[in-house]
Symmetry: C2
Subunit: 367 residues, 2 copies
């Protein structure tokens, strides 16, 4: 154990951090595969590195080994996920690592995929390759949280995103909800969208805001999912203007409009309903079968409330704008309906953030 002194632990973290940064380059491109980065180190110098670039492409380990060439011999490999032992779109990585003469593999976290799940580490050890697991494990799990849920639960990882004013209102009927937050916040949402597999909204959001749900050329367009039990969506909705893959979830028979949807390449998912609602667990399970590993819910209050109630949400993101709308009829991010004029909002100069226990205090002077 002498080898793992403080300096070595710090070095391991440093190289693993580089793996995580490399892995992130695959964001939005490798799903439902995990994001993986790999660094090969010899005599404290990086001799090869790689990352999983796109779904079906070479694994990070293989890319790094190709770069390192014969320098792999007796080198240490850093990788944020346990190397695979099974044939997927590409051959397994473990035999290649052994063949290349890697002496030690430092792994952030085991691959929870039932096809791997410790087998990679075992095979490496049997072949005499040293293994060290759990370096920056928390960060690695956070990075691949969508993959981990998808591979273990066969359900997509679901983020619910909303934006509200300081007094908990979202605008709806006027479509002004789009302008609650600042350009910086909207830019962030575009980046977020390009990192996930699908955006999901309820038909009411389409009817009220008529969004295109695209990311305006700022990366990959995620699939679009609209829940529309009664098929109220108008055929001239903006969402039908582009060729981004779209899935319409309904209870209805769409025989009459089949041609339109076919031409627009809209995929129809017909599901049974109960009390006029389609079970969210069932929706997510169907989406998982379509290899959708992550979903961003950007619904109105009703869709948000229903998703939370159904227990399908893993993570929430609430943007809070330094404005107070007031007014009886404004909607809230989860449930509630109404009309509101964002220009009438009271502005707060600069929100300051404090923490008291588990609570957050947002305060500011009136502008």
């Amino acid at each position: 154990m002498k080898e793992y002194n403080t300096a070595q632990i710090a070095r391991d973290k440093k190289y693993m951090q580089i793996c995580l940064e490399l892995a992130k380059k695959g964001i939005g491109k490798v799903s439902p595969n995990p994001m993986v980065g790999c660094v090969i180190v010899k005599n404290n110098k990086i001799v090869g590195q790689g990352y999983h670039r796109y779904f079906g492409g070479a694994h990070a380990e293989i890319e790094a080994l190709r770069r390192a060439k014969n320098k792999s011999k007796n080198a240490t490999m850093y990788i944020n996920l346990e190397p695979c032992v099974h044939w997927g779109k590409t051959p397994p990585c473990v035999p290649e690592i052994i063949k290349a003469g890697i002496k030690k593999v430092v792994i952030a976290t085991k691959d929870p995929n039932p096809l791997v799940n410790g087998k990679g580490i075992r095979q490496l050890k049997v072949a005499g390759v040293k293994c060290k697991v759990e370096t920056l494990e928390e960060e690695a799990k956070e990075l691949n949280r969508a993959y981990i849920k998808f591979i273990t639960k066969k359900m997509p990882y679901v983020i619910l995103k909303s934006a509200m004013t300081l007094d908990g209102k979202i605008a709806t009927s006027t479509g002004e909800s789009k302008w609650i937050t600042s350009k910086e916040a909207r830019d962030y949402v575009h980046r977020l969208r390009s990192s996930i597999d699908a955006i999901l909204v309820g038909v009411n959001t389409v009817l009220k805001d008529n969004p295109s749900l695209s990311i305006h050329g700022k990366g990959k367009n995620p699939k679009r999912i609209i829940i529309d039990p009664q098929l109220h969506i108008p055929l001239n909705a903006k969402i039908f203007n582009s060729t981004v893959e779209t899935i319409l979830i309904t209870t209805k028979n769409i025989e009459r409009k089949t041609n339109f949807y076919k031409k627009k390449k809209i995929r129809i998912l017909s599901l049974p309903s109960k009390n006029g609602k389609i079970d969210f667990q069932q929706i997510m399970s169907k989406l998982a079968k379509m290899n959708i590993a992550s979903v961003l819910i950007e619904g109105g209050g009703e869709t948000n409330a229903y998703a939370l109630e159904a227990g399908v949400v893993d993570e929430v993101m609430f943007f809070i704008a330094p404005k107070i709308i007031g007014g009886k009829n404004a909607s809230t991010p989860v449930e509630g309906k109404g009309i509101v004029n964002i220009n009438r909002a009271v502005k707060i100069k600069e929100l300051k953030v404090h923490r008291y226990g588990r609570d957050i205090l947002l305060c500011g002077h009136l502008g």
Copy 2:
């Protein structure tokens, strides 16, 4: 100007910071006077210090001079507010400073009181005392923001405080709104209450939550103000159980119950109404005349909305609990009514805070 090199500026800030800390000891005790702290420094050593301890008590400068005794001669005085030149509850300070032989006075900010407003500095200069203004001026103005508004606008400084869940809901009808936030947040609110002159609520909060609006022995009890246009408050309300000064604002003639209110030392403020509402500007103006320089509005959604609409609010404080209530009928911090069960709330593990432009992003995993 050679004297004001970087080291001297740093020293000035250091001593002014001590003044501000001293001044803060008067929090909740000196209103409607400002909080003032004073330090006398000679050869880089503090030879005397003081602060304004209570309304009507000695000013900070006088206390510091008493402590410094003959060491004041040729010393530098630091003080966070311009010394006074007028007779108030105590004699003016400037003549005493001159008499003590102070050589230089470093002041954070001018006293906006029309009776002072630069006259203190002029008189000091005329007497040959050097003056330097604007050291930590922003901090000094923030500390005495209530005093500054009160003395210049003849209106109290108004803070609107609310607590809500992450989805912008406050509980009302069940009275559970009291338990939305954590103990740490509630403790902070108690400290906040003891720092201001009066708490204001609408009668609906009394009817629904029946609060005592006291601070449970954690400092000075502020006055309590209830807006009750139609005099719906029940005589057995908890608010009447203690002898903390209470002001009931109504449109009604209280002849029948005069004896009860007299016995309970409840002050009745009878004001005209318009469309069933009492003008908030008028209320605040009346409160200012009663020497109430700061008001904390802890109303329900309706009172909050009305105060914001009337433009009497200077500052807002919104506590956000890491919970999502959902449900159609939950209230929002500004307007909205309904019943909600806080125990049904979805809990968020740990809220993380990010900033995007002027907006705040709160996000977290579901617990």
